[in-house]
Symmetry: C2
Subunit: 354 residues, 2 copies
């Protein structure tokens, strides 16, 4: 049951057993074999708690996400776990559910378990929790919003790249009246996406008047509501890009309910590429922000920070590309060079060059 039992049966000291397990080279091969044999037949597994008590390293990373039930996160959790086990790390998962009580509780739990680092993958900055961890010098990695401090790494998302691809894809399909359904604008990541959209449009000389810029909330209901607005416009957009996939799915639903067919009458593109984007009808063209990649980077950030001997003045910075993945929710703009079919032939205000 404990190392003592193994030691007794192998007729060695517990030190030798420990050395054997940890592969310390100074133990004679023959002895090592004997010890291993006893370990096997006893089915002995070392007690990690005792181990990390003395070593000072728990081999646990914390992972804080907004909510596991949000389809964006499971892939991250899975990816993070995958790499963690490969490196003999355990992961403590926590979802804040947007509740700051829970958030601080979960931070406390992690500190009590003496995690070696924490990945905070939650859109919407939670400044409060930071203090506690920071002051304890726990390596941290944020996505998009971390401060530049020692032991704090950051994963930057290159929103523009993918969104630009989306916009240019749409433009190539002769769309010029392109709307954008944003996320809640107080979210940094949502704001960044909207800005990227605007910039991408601007780059190719397309203007977007304010009525084509509507604020959603990153849920399906938000997408539905926003799409209602858009479809009620005198000049309907022929394409709409959404700040995330759930919004896009809502938009598709509303289109369907109003008999506007995607992609023939209107093209829709999402953002995130959650798994469900493939399962929706029609499969959603969307900008991928690889969740697996985020997980990989987050782990790498923590891991290198743990290995580091001399504390660097600031953590590492990583950048994640986004890129368009084509599926079936986009198509050529409707032929009359203007809006969806049920609209009166009242010409749009946007000059087109082609």
């Amino acid at each position: 049951m404990s190392i003592h039992e193994v030691a007794k049966r192998a007729k060695v000291s517990i030190a030798t057993v420990s050395r054997t397990i940890n592969g310390v080279p100074t133990v004679a091969p023959q002895l090592s074999r004997r010890v291993w044999k006893v370990i096997e037949e006893l089915g002995y597994y070392p007690n990690t708690q005792a181990r990390s008590l003395v070593s000072g390293r728990s081999r646990i990373f914390g992972l804080i996400v907004s909510e596991i039930t949000n389809p964006f996160f499971p892939e991250i959790v899975q990816g993070f776990e995958d790499i963690a086990v490969q490196h003999d790390y355990e992961v403590l998962i926590t979802s804040t559910v947007h509740d700051s009580k829970r958030m601080s509780l979960s931070v406390r739990r992690m500190i009590e378990r003496r995690v070696d680092g924490v990945a905070i993958v939650t859109f919407g900055m939670e400044e409060a929790l930071l203090e506690n961890l920071k002051s304890r010098n726990v390596p941290l990695v944020f996505i998009d919003v971390g401060p530049s401090l020692s032991r704090i790494s950051n994963i930057k998302i290159d929103y523009l790249h993918g969104i630009r691809q989306a916009v240019q894809h749409l433009a190539a399909l002769r769309h010029s009246t392109i709307a954008f359904i944003s996320g809640p604008l107080m979210l940094r990541s949502a704001l960044a996406r909207q800005r990227a959209f605007l910039q991408a449009m601007n780059e190719i000389g397309l203007t977007v008047s304010p009525e084509y810029l509507v604020e959603g909330n990153h849920t399906m209901d938000g997408g539905i509501a926003a799409m209602k607005e858009l479809l009620a416009l005198p000049v309907r957009p022929t394409a709409v890009v959404c700040s995330n996939d759930m919004t896009a799915i809502g938009a598709m639903r509303e289109s369907y309910d109003q008999g506007v067919v995607v992609p023939d009458d209107i093209s829709i593109v999402g953002f995130d590429d959650i798994r469900f984007a493939q399962f929706v009808t029609p499969p959603l063209t969307t900008v991928r922000m690889s969740q697996t990649e985020i997980a990989r980077m987050a782990f790498a950030a923590l891991f290198t920070e743990v290995q580091r001997k001399s504390p660097a003045p600031t953590g590492n910075e990583y950048t994640l590309m986004t890129s368009l993945v084509l599926r079936k929710s986009t198509a050529m703009a409707p032929n009359d060079s203007q809006s969806a079919r049920t609209v009166r032939p009242n010409r749009g205000t946007h000059a087109e060059t082609d």
Copy 2:
């Protein structure tokens, strides 16, 4: 940083600090206050590893799921975590990804961390891992497939109840040619669902000939393939119930692609009620098997087993009801008393009584 620091500053022994933290009543109120004050201002959090090393209880439960990215599981994870934190438990999540290597590795990890119990929420019996945990006398809870042994609890699912509701709902809508797309039949839970379907049909005097019983694999692709078969039948079913929601979503997709409209031409009902069932178009009528409830029961099973002083000969048994939730994917059977619209008016072979 450690309890010693607190003791020194409060000018007491570490024993007193420990007692204060654990609320042992023999410490004088005044002293207690003094100690707490120091704890606060030091921001001291006890080291859980040291704690559980001596107490012998880790206050960690393991949770083994098939794969977090399967939309069925996140709700379970979330639910389990919710209750766990309420009870001051931590949870170690692991997904086997149907890989027995990973499975046994994860069991090992859990044993090394000395979990107080493990919930195995994975359809598809994994006999192998059981041995290891069982022999170590770790409380276990299975869903549907656990053996009746000491310290092993079981959550039984009442498949029949919900599926019967579904079948009767369909019958009430004048459907009589009802097909069933099963899951992989080597899965116990899949088999049980099919049996429940057959029984429910039988109860109301409906027969189901073999061509209306097709085997899927619990994925969307499986649903698509199965639906292809069904739609190619000389007499199409007017309704199909599926062994899980992903299958149903696949079936809906294939219907859509063939221009068969749900629910007007064909009714579809799913099983599980994963979150996405609401988001699909049209929203899926399905049999709910509450994931939150499963999580709740699993935790309760483990928790009561941990509390138990005298080992019972067998663990507890719980039963989870299933029940139909109506949404938009079912409707009256098409009027011609027979199959979907695009089919030649070649009358079916099933006598109908109404």
